[in-house]
């Protein structure tokens, strides 16, 4: 008895749908952050019907933009840049700005600490910081990063690219 097997090869091509919802390069001050957020809100409504996802993207955008505004270093040659991209069901926020080399160690410590935490630990850390009696400026930056990690669906990805002895270009990638 002869069995003939017919193999069908099915090629599945994964077409990743990539849509850029926001691209901004320029000075980031309090007013400009408001302009960016006003522009992004209708885009989010167009590309997602999930309230929780939209609110998380908005929240991460606010925190990353405010972090740059509050803790970044102004340099006219290397301006801050923020990109929000949708890859299928994921949204990725990529923000870049100049930082002082003297602050890199401090930023790395906060980011590595947050990345070392589990989801539960991130929650505990966030509410622990909020409930501290006094929040110092340095601690506020930490709360913002923990808030970003709380809303992200994976670990924070970051990079420091040296520009010269004084400054570097910092990039943070957040997936939601």
């Amino acid at each position: 008895m002869l069995f003939c097997k017919i193999h069908r090869y099915i090629f599945i091509i994964n077409m990743v749908k990539e849509v850029e919802l926001l691209k901004y390069k320029g000075v980031l001050n309090f007013e400009q952050i408001g302009v960016i957020l006003d522009k992004v809100q209708p885009e989010l409504d167009n590309y997602s019907s999930d309230t929780l996802v939209k609110k998380r993207i908005y929240s991460v955008l606010v925190e990353v933009l405010e972090n740059v505004h509050n803790h970044g270093y102004n340099n006219q040659e290397y301006l801050p840049q923020c990109i929000l991209t949708r890859y299928d069901d994921n949204f990725v926020i990529k923000i870049s700005n100049v930082v002082l080399n003297a602050n890199i160690e401090k930023f790395k410590n906060i980011l590595d600490y947050v990345n070392s935490l589990s989801e539960d630990e991130i929650n505990k850390s966030f509410y622990g910081k909020i409930k501290e009696k006094t929040i110092l400026e340095e601690s506020e930056a930490g709360v913002g990063i923990i808030q970003i990690a709380k809303k992200a669906s994976s670990k924070l990805v970051y990079n420091f690219k040296t520009i010269n002895d004084k400054i570097s270009y910092f990039t943070l990638k957040v997936t939601i």
């Binding site: 309090f30 408001g34 006003d38 999930d50 309230t51 929780l52 609110k55 998380r56 908005y58 929240s59 606010v62 925190e63 405010e66 929650n123 966030f126 509410y127 909020i130 409930k131 929040i135 506020e140 709360v143 913002g144 923990i146 808030q147 809303k151």
Partner: protein, 133 residues
């Protein structure tokens, strides 16, 4: 005591403090440029009002003072001050003033509900969670 109203802006919430109608309501978005400057007067008003009515708890037995939190969004810097407001409200509760605290959240925004639960977990009163459809 005089009523208190702060109009809503794109970065700060509307704050309505109506002492005649027994209502404190905060609603909208919160990411003020200077979070301390925005929230300090609100905290001061609440504290002044509590001290003014602490001997009149009987007035609120049948008519509780209602605190409504209707945030659409608040940033991490605001969270600390919202907690301070909740701690001040808890003093109303521990002083024996009849209060009702309502924490509103948009349907699907379970993060907003969670933050209400977490910020009040160590306080004496428990808010009522109301979903807005």
């Amino acid at each position: 005591m005089e009523n208190f109203l702060i109009k809503r802006t794109s970065t700060t919430p509307k704050v309505e403090f109506n002492t005649k109608n027994n209502l404190f309501e905060i609603s909208g978005n919160s990411r003020p440029e200077d979070v301390r400057v925005f929230y300090k007067p609100i905290l001061d008003k609440l504290q002044q009002f509590r001290k003014a009515i602490v001997d009149k708890t009987d007035d609120y037995v049948d008519n509780p003072f209602v605190f409504n939190f209707k945030f659409n969004y608040f940033n991490s810097s605001s969270a600390k001050f919202i907690l301070d407001i909740l701690i001040e409200i808890n003093k109303f509760y521990t002083d024996g003033i009849n209060i009702q605290v309502n924490w509103f959240f948009e349907e699907g925004d379970y993060d907003m509900k969670e933050v209400g639960e977490e910020l009040t977990v160590t306080l004496g009163f428990k808010p009522q969670y109301i979903m807005i459809k």
